[in-house]
Amino acid sequence: MKMFEYMGKEVFAQFGLPVPKGRMVKSPDEAAQVAAEIGGPVVIKSQVLSGKRGKAGGIKFADNPEGAKAAAEELLGMTIQGLPVEILLVEEKLLIDKELYLSITIDGAAKKPVLIASAHGGMEIEEVAEEYMIKKHIEVELGMQDFIARDVVRRMGISFNSPHSQALVKLMNTLYKIFTEKDAELVEINPLVLSGDKVIAADAKVTIDDEALYRQPDLPRVEERTATEKAAHDLGLAFVELDGDIGVMANGAGITMGTLDTLTYYGGKPANFLDAGGGTGEEGTAKALELILARKPKSIIINIFGGITRCDDVARAFASVKKKMGMPVPVVIRLVGTNQEAGRAILKEVGIEAYDFMQDAAKKAVELANQKSEVGGQRSEGRGRKAEARGQRSERF
């Protein structure tokens, strides 16, 4: 779960990590009020979950409350990378002597946290040359220690005798504490500003592990998923919207990706990724089909290799949904594994002959999608498709 900058800074402040004076606002009047409270030049920052808001004009400066109000008026209602700006953060404008970069994230390959620092902060870290980046893995059982932080500070070119050295060591310890105690996947400060003899987190990018949200009741919640993806998530389904016209449902992330790949190989365009996982019952199956149908596909492929999933359960759920809801597009089902025969018998009752092999089922689904496209005249919903004309969705199936 990505957190807005202002939320990240609230967490920082709770742990005593220095952040600029200021707070979140939702209207120009509030912006003016906060600017008045701060009583000097301010910065007004769009709160969107995108890293490129600076370049997109999402950050403005003002010298007084009136200016802040005007800036806020401009920013609210802007759209940055497709995201509407609805929240602003109004903060004191810092006198910047130097901008550093600091983050802690998880290195899956190393299986441990990694601290990344650079004396070249303020720009996107991807744009910082490798030679200016300092990477230090943190052993889980050792945690952050002063000697590690001191070494990183030094390698950033900050002398032990500088006024910032001790503050940075302390800040790194605090940031690691936040990272572990708040179940973060990423805590990033860019820029980390040296201002006079102070060290201040001028930005905050915090991402919390979704799987750990249950034990982080004090953190605010941010919903980044589309409404559909969220509905799927709540049902235990992993759902991603794609641009094509073939609905996909499979059980397992790998086989779902494999299904997409196979469809693509045969010239099809998947409309979605939907991993139904191991144990989807009738309700889950109904919901999954609903999500898929909402993408208005030309055909649907259901690819089940029953392990934990039992084929008869899937077939029963599908048959029941089909009977209740009808099925406006052709559905191709591949069904093998646990209780395969029972499952196929159930499908036969609703007029579906299951396939043995994924590639055959995929070929058929592509064929159906393309066939239908060639019948009617509706515009393709998929981008980059070569098919020129598409058919009305059949209600027969």
């Binding site: 998880i106 899956g108 390959a109 299986k111 441990k112 946290p113 991807e126 052993e139 889980v140 059982e141 572990t180 179940d183 996947e185 592990d209 799987e211 750990a212 249950y214 034990r215 992993a238 991603v240 794609l242 499979a250 059980n251 397992g252 992330a253 790998g254 086989i255 779902t256 990706m257 494999g258 997409l260 790949d261 196979t262 469809l263 693509t264 190989y265 998947p270 990724f273 991993d275 191991g278 290799f305 029953g306 392990g307 934990i308 093998v336 594994g337 646990t338 092999f357 994924m358 590639q359």
Partner: protein
């Protein structure tokens, strides 16, 4: 021979009395796995499927020789269960559970390293030494003994490919699921080394997916291997920036792409199948059948 587990492996099931734990205990027993004990917080002292159930792992270990544990404990208790097994001295711990917080996973993996133990998973289908021992959840019929080692990041895709192998009469020495999460115990390299050293294994199938750099790292080691490796990488058609089901299956900042992985593997001499079903065909060629 096989790697990691075999017909002499004595297994404990942690969380044996839960719905999943009990069902898969039955399945594992049916496959021939030597399950000698189970744990259950609420059913200690009873017997399930003829298996004695204990309150905790230490008590079970005091009463049985136990080589390996398979964990069916929900995500919020899985770290505790894994640490319990490791602390009791068990050297192979298979964590089937999914949705475990990543900080918990790092803690378990670090502690396993400290005590010199092996963690398979989390979020894995488990491990099968075909015809000898199954720990985890894959369907029994698709795993037959043979000389192909399989190592994978995802579950059903593995069944798909192993199913194809078996359908063509190609058996497997051991099939290992590393787990789909971002932090898991074993790496491809760990497992490839085991296969390289296993006399029974003649060829290896590596089933990867987009995201991370596990396949790229594997490529480095594969250059040193004497045994042929065939790979399939899922996610060729996945868009960047979207998490494809698995926590780790995401192309971020241009890293972990399909093409990068295929290039690295191809350069290391790996034959990469474009579709899952092609793997069995290529393996047949490789084994000269």
């Amino acid at each position: 021979m096989a790697i990691i587990i075999d017909e002499n492996t004595h297994v404990i099931v942690q969380g044996i009395s839960g719905k999943q734990g009990l069902f898969h205990t039955q399945q594992m027993l049916a496959y021939g796995t030597k399950i000698v004990a189970g744990t259950s917080a609420s059913k200690g002292g009873t017997t399930l499927e003829g298996i004695p159930v204990y309150d905790n792992v230490r008590t079970a270990c005091a009463n049985h020789t136990i080589d390996a544990s398979v964990i069916f404990i929900p995500a919020n208790g899985a770290k505790d269960a894994a640490l319990e097994a490791l602390e009791a001295g068990i050297k192979v711990v298979v964590v089937v559970t999914e949705h475990i917080p990543v900080h918990d996973e790092m803690a378990v993996v670090a502690y396993a390293k400290r005590v010199g133990a092996m963690v398979i998973g989390p979020n894995t289908f488990g491990i099968v030494s075909s015809g000898k021992c199954k720990m985890g959840i894959p369907p029994n019929p698709f795993f037959i003994p043979g000389s192909v080692g399989v190592v994978a990041r995802s579950g059903t895709l593995t069944y798909e490919i192993v199913g194809n192998l078996t359908a063509q009469g190609i058996g497997q020495s051991t099939v290992v699921g590393m787990g789909g999460d971002r932090v898991v115990g074993l790496t491809f390299v760990d497992v490839l080394k085991e296969f390289e050293a296993d006399p029974e294994t003649k060829a290896v199938v590596l089933i990867g997916e987009i995201g991370g750099n596990a396949e790229e790292e594997a490529s480095q080691y594969i250059r040193e291997m004497t045994k042929p490796v065939v790979a399939y990488i899922a996610g060729k058609s996945a868009p960047a920036g979207k998490r494809m089901g698995h926590a780790g299956a995401i192309i971020e900042r241009g890293k972990g792409t399909y093409q990068g992985k295929v290039n690295a593997l191809t350069e290391a001499g790996v034959k990469v199948a474009e579709l899952p079903f092609e793997v069995a065909e290529i393996i047949k060629d490789v084994l000269g059948r």
